[in-house]
């Protein structure tokens, strides 16, 4: 990768990262994150990690960012501006500059392992596949279990809870009766409901009551 291309991408990535943390509108923050991830992905490709670069673009920009966008729209967020304490922000700005300088110094003073870039013995994708299915086989299999657990956990977390503790306290002692579950959940949730109750929620209500 030529130096000018690296410098261009690096500047773009830093500007996009600044945009992530400084924009008031959440969707603009997300756009900055998308640009940052794209530039870093292109940088991976330029560094010879072609497979990982494309994986980064597909998974991050294609999947995770869409998930973020979906949640932002689901929650219907407005631009919030900067809230919080001014002193904290000044402190964080100084601390960030010091932290970045320290990291840069550490990385620059790290011993050069080899001046000449050693070429990879295989091309990117076959080397990655060999490494994944020989040295890292156990980690690879554990990753599948992790993904399954994450899917189940995410569904369980985002599912509409039948009757939360707050609502029980507010609506009296016993919570809602079985017949009252037919009424619209949007009214009881105070307008914050984002998803209509499905069949499973109603069945769970019945079992809880």
């Amino acid at each position: 990768m030529p130096l000018w291309l690296f410098l261009f991408l690096a500047a773009l990535a830093v500007i996009a990262a600044l945009g992530v943390i400084l924009q008031a509108n959440t969707v603009h923050c997300l756009l900055g994150l998308a640009i940052n991830l794209l530039t870093v992905g292109i940088m991976y490709i330029g560094l010879g990690a072609v497979t990982v670069g494309f994986l980064q673009i597909i998974i991050y920009v294609g999947a995770i960012l869409v998930l973020f966008l979906f949640v932002i729209w689901l929650l219907n967020l407005q631009a919030e501006g900067f809230t919080g304490y001014l002193g904290l922000k000044v402190l964080v700005a100084i601390g960030t500059a010091a932290f970045a300088a320290e990291l840069a110094l550490i990385f620059l003073s790290a011993p050069r392992i080899s001046k000449v870039v050693a070429p990879l013995s295989q091309d990117s994708i076959s080397g990655l596949g060999h490494a994944l299915f020989s040295d890292y086989l156990i980690a690879f299999e554990v990753t599948s279990a992790l993904l399954l657990a994450a899917i189940v956990g995410a569904i369980g977390l985002a599912r509409r809870v039948p009757l939360s503790v707050d609502e029980t306290a507010r609506s009296g002692v016993g919570g809602r009766r079985l017949g009252e579950t037919e009424q619209s959940p949007e009214q009881t949730a105070g307008g914050t409901s984002v998803r209509p109750r499905g069949i499973t929620g109603r069945e769970l209500d019945a079992t809880v009551n």
Partner: protein, 93 residues
């Protein structure tokens, strides 16, 4: 490498100064990304494929983390109707 350090520092700053938990979450992704860049650059420098393998796993874990974290955010918003981290003191003793 210096760039990855800079991006990591910016991600840390984002977590610290923003009070919107979704933006804080994005900043965490920024930090993960910076570490990935360091892995790729170092793997390239020592001519090893292991850095790319680690990045592969980090991306996978980041995807799982994003799914679970956003699930938590949705659940929190449904119960408290806010995404401001200062108001989310359910776990405070």
């Amino acid at each position: 490498m210096v760039l990855s350090g800079l991006l990591f520092a910016l991600g840390t700053a984002g977590v610290l100064i923003r009070r919107n938990i979704i933006v804080m979450f994005m900043s965490i992704e920024l930090m993960l990304n910076a570490v990935n860049l360091a892995f790729i650059a170092m793997g390239r420098r020592i001519g090893s494929i292991d850095g790319q393998v680690i990045v592969f796993f980090v991306i996978t874990v980041a995807a799982a983390e994003a799914a679970v974290g956003l699930g938590i955010i949705i659940s929190l918003f449904r119960n408290r109707a806010t995404v401001n981290a200062d108001e989310l003191n359910v776990l405070r003793w």
